[in-house]
């Protein structure tokens, strides 16, 4: 918004904007509003993975901040209250994981093998392809934890020297792509075991994939949320070690 505009109404609005943007209320409210709009679009689109509410909210807010010349630091003053809850939400993932502990015990060996192979593939293929196509070190480090649910992925990215905010966006895009591509891939491979289908979607595409699996089949949904939690743990433990071996 431009202070040079001479129309009295615009000047008045500008003054209100300057006043409001100095308090956390404005950007906290705008964050919630953008998400509510994103969620409404997602529902209107019949829960299509392309109409991801987080992606819509992020696009709306980035557009608004760029148009008004607001810095990310000013925005974050208000948005930090939402951001803070990521930590306790990560701890809270222990409860759904615990609820699936019986399914885990029944298929312990297949799950352990699939988890290890899947985690290594997710990290190795992403870093390998990006490296072959000429990505910089920062991008490689930010990509490594992209299959894991956002709070864990951002923590890993920060711990290994990536850019947590870039990781957050890569994680969301991974979820959308995984939800869109998984069904075709699994059908092509003739995988008929719902447990394997769900576990694969949840491992590759975290919460967004889990939501997709839940909408298709209940067994698949339970195994997807199990995969999301286990892959979060496995990636948090394996990525720092792998990165030290691969990139040094």
């Amino acid at each position: 918004m431009n202070a040079e505009q001479t129309a009295p109404l615009a000047e008045e609005l500008y003054r209100v904007w300057v006043y409001l943007s100095a308090s956390p209320l404005l950007f906290l409210t705008l964050t919630l509003t953008a998400y509510v709009i994103g969620d409404a679009v997602y529902r209107r689109a019949g829960l299509s993975p392309w109409a991801n509410p987080v992606l819509i909210a992020v696009l709306l807010l980035v557009g608004l901040l760029l148009a008004t010349g607001t810095s990310y630091a000013d925005y974050f003053e208000g948005a930090q209250f939402v951001h803070f809850l990521l930590g306790p939400a990560t701890v809270a993932l222990a409860v759904p994981l615990y609820r699936n502990v019986r399914a885990l015990r029944r298929a312990l060996l297949p799950l352990a093998v699939a988890l290890l192979g899947g985690t290594l593939t997710a990290v190795g293929s992403a870093v390998g392809i990006a490296w072959a196509l000429g990505a910089t070190r920062e991008t490689l480090l930010s990509l490594a934890p992209k299959s894991v649910t956002t709070p864990i992925a951002m923590g890993i990215s920060e711990a290994i020297g990536g850019l947590p905010s870039l990781t957050a966006v890569l994680v969301i895009l991974t979820g959308i792509l995984g939800a869109v591509l998984a069904t075709a891939t699994l059908n092509l491979l003739r995988i008929t075991d719902w447990r394997a289908r769900g576990f694969a979607i949840g491992l590759a595409a975290h919460g967004i994939g889990t939501a997709r699996a839940l909408s298709l089949n209940e067994v698949a949904g339970a195994f997807a949320s199990l995969a999301m939690g286990l892959n979060g743990l496995a990636t948090a433990i394996l990525v720092p070690v792998l990165i030290r071996l691969l990139i040094g």
Partner: protein
């Protein structure tokens, strides 16, 4: 309710302190997750109702919590413009490879170990 919200924060705090004391590269909240999971395993049975209420309150709106971090991409628009090809290539290639490897390994090992899917666990 307040007790369990405090419990979540205490688990996270212990995790953060442990990470800094030992110098682990694992995020503190992940250690908190393991602590709470371990506690539930030791306790056994259904998780307490009030705990489930607190955790589903947080997890039902989990996606909202990613928005402030996602907006941070505006700091890296130049990087994304310069490296869009490796980024898009890695995301698409890795999504297909990860789904394929995980599903194949899981169904193969399940068949080998006699943990084949029951009728309701099979598609069609």
């Amino acid at each position: 309710m307040l007790f369990f919200l405090t419990l979540l924060l205490v688990c996270q705090l212990i995790g953060e302190v442990a990470v800094r004391l030992v110098g682990l590269p694992i995020p503190g909240p992940v250690i908190g997750l393991v602590l709470l999971f371990g506690g539930l395993l030791i306790r056994g049975g259904e998780p307490p109702e009030a705990l489930s209420q607190v955790t589903s309150g947080l997890l039902d709106n989990l996606a909202l919590l990613f928005v402030p971090a996602g907006v941070g991409v505006m700091l890296h628009l130049g990087l994304v413009r310069d490296e869009w090809l490796p980024i898009v290539g890695a995301l698409i290639g890795s999504a297909i490879a990860t789904v394929a490897v995980t599903a194949l390994l899981m169904s193969l090992v399940a068949r080998l170990t006699g943990a084949a899917p029951s009728a309701e666990e099979r598609k069609e």
